[in-house]
Symmetry: C2
DNA sequence: CAAAATCCTTGACCTAGATCAACAAATGTC
DNA sequence: GACATTTGTTGATCTAGGTCAAGGATTTTG
């Protein structure tokens, strides 16, 4: 439990205008006038599962919040090796204010709706409304923390620890739990295919499948269907994940 | 060459008051009055090689620029496995404005001098001087980009590619090169021990040593002593690194 | 409802990198 | 200048996870 953050990691109850979800992002502290400004430059976009939203290196002229569905940020090597570097769940934010182009592929993993803000006017609002910039800094620092946890996972954890960590991370996000909040029985639906998990974890999909089976056989998790997981003892799973961290709040 | 950043990645020539180095960081766009403010809250600290500056989870009541020497940010697991998550060279910035505690160990890898700013007053300056916050956001986004490159390295690259990548990254930092700038002969001094490299790359130190030897035998690099490296053909080394990225500008 | 995709699991085998171990070279120290 | 320490190299061996391959379970499509 090393994190003592001043950033609101819970969802705030300030909705962004008539936006159907509560953005964790930019509008957390905006007043009505400011929300109206944001309203004026926002628009919705839908994407089909599998669709690439932006290619690495392409111009990306918006920032956005995920309304529903899942998107991933992925780095690709010329020979096709892929590493996920960000996982966007509903209410997550994506965008690089001050940057022209995307540094990674942004892919809709499921059918996806995003609430987008055109970048230029958004940046203007950032200038005139300091706390929008402040929120963005906080969010970016959170992402950096998550990225660094993730680096530990990629560089040093075993396959089994990686899988356990991923389930913990998703469970926490799912339940909006802070570290240490949950114990006892927890239920999660994995929103990712085995392949997507392998791209997240720096493994092959076969290894992912095998390790999930192993955790099942050892009674750490129970599985119905392919994605529905019951964790009888959450603390036990955290032990398997091999760290006492706060798990990070993903990108 | 995917990066097209608006952030100044070159050093700016605005020194921070009488600070002996040019901070890439906070004072890049400050005027004299603002520099004076920063001057008033800054102080210098020296550390010996090997000294831990802050432990993960400890209170960290300052932000700082590296004046000379090298520091690393490292995540540690209970059983001692270590993963470097940030490498700080002279002029790099470290700190988590808005955060109470460190999320990783900060260690002086060599003898080190830092120019520190007490956090509270620094945050006050951030509020009154918007572009300081803006610079910080830019810097944090750069770090996030670097972290994501690093994740690709950790998750998907071979040992040989990892070593080649590290040498490329250090060479670029050393020469303050932008991607694509350098070709032909390049000379670098590795500022890290084999062990530190292994912590950076998610390898063992033996593998680091072997792969460096292999690159030497294959004529990709030449070595004098243990750390002094000559790269006869920089583009060749980039090929070995297995990516066309901008290499990232580390934490 | 058959055919074709997807998505997932499991087995057999292989290899990159880890582990264990010995030693060499450089550096510090009294 | 001998001794200890730190740093780096190389060899022998082991193993976690990758690769290749077959097949099962669902979902999609026509």
């Amino acid at each position: 439990m090393s994190r003592t953050s001043t950033a609101p990691t819970k969802f705030t109850h300030v909705a962004c205008g008539d936006c159907p979800i509560r953005h964790r992002a930019v509008c957390a502290r905006c007043d009505d006038t400011e929300l109206k400004q944001l309203d004026e430059i926002k628009y919705y976009r839908s994407f089909q599962a599998g669709q690439t939203i932006v290619w690495s290196g392409d111009r990306m002229d918006f920032v956005a919040s995920v309304v529903s569905g899942i998107a991933t940020l992925t780095q690709t090597m010329e020979d096709g090796r892929r590493q996920m570097v960000g996982l966007l769940l509903p209410a997550d934010f994506v965008g690089r204010p001050g940057r022209e182009t995307a540094a990674y592929d942004v892919v809709a993993t499921t059918d996806l709706v995003m609430c987008c803000f055109r970048k230029k006017p958004f940046e203007d609002i950032m200038v005139t409304t300091p706390h929008v910039g402040q929120r963005l800094l906080e969010m970016t620092l959170d992402e950096l923390d998550a990225a660094r946890e993730w680096m530990l996972l990629l560089g040093r954890k075993t396959a089994r620890e990686k899988i356990a960590s991923l389930i913990v991370i998703i469970a926490r996000r799912d339940l909006s739990l802070k570290p240490g909040d949950a114990d006892g029985r927890v239920v999660v639906d994995l929103p990712l295919t085995r392949e997507a998990m392998s791209e997240y974890l720096g493994l092959t999909l076969e290894t992912v499948s095998r390790q999930i089976s192993a955790l099942r056989k050892d009674g750490i998790i129970q599985i119905e269907g392919k994605r529905h997981i019951t964790i009888p003892d959450f603390d036990r799973l955290i032990e398997e994940a091999g760290d006492d961290s706060d798990g990070g709040f993903l990108a």
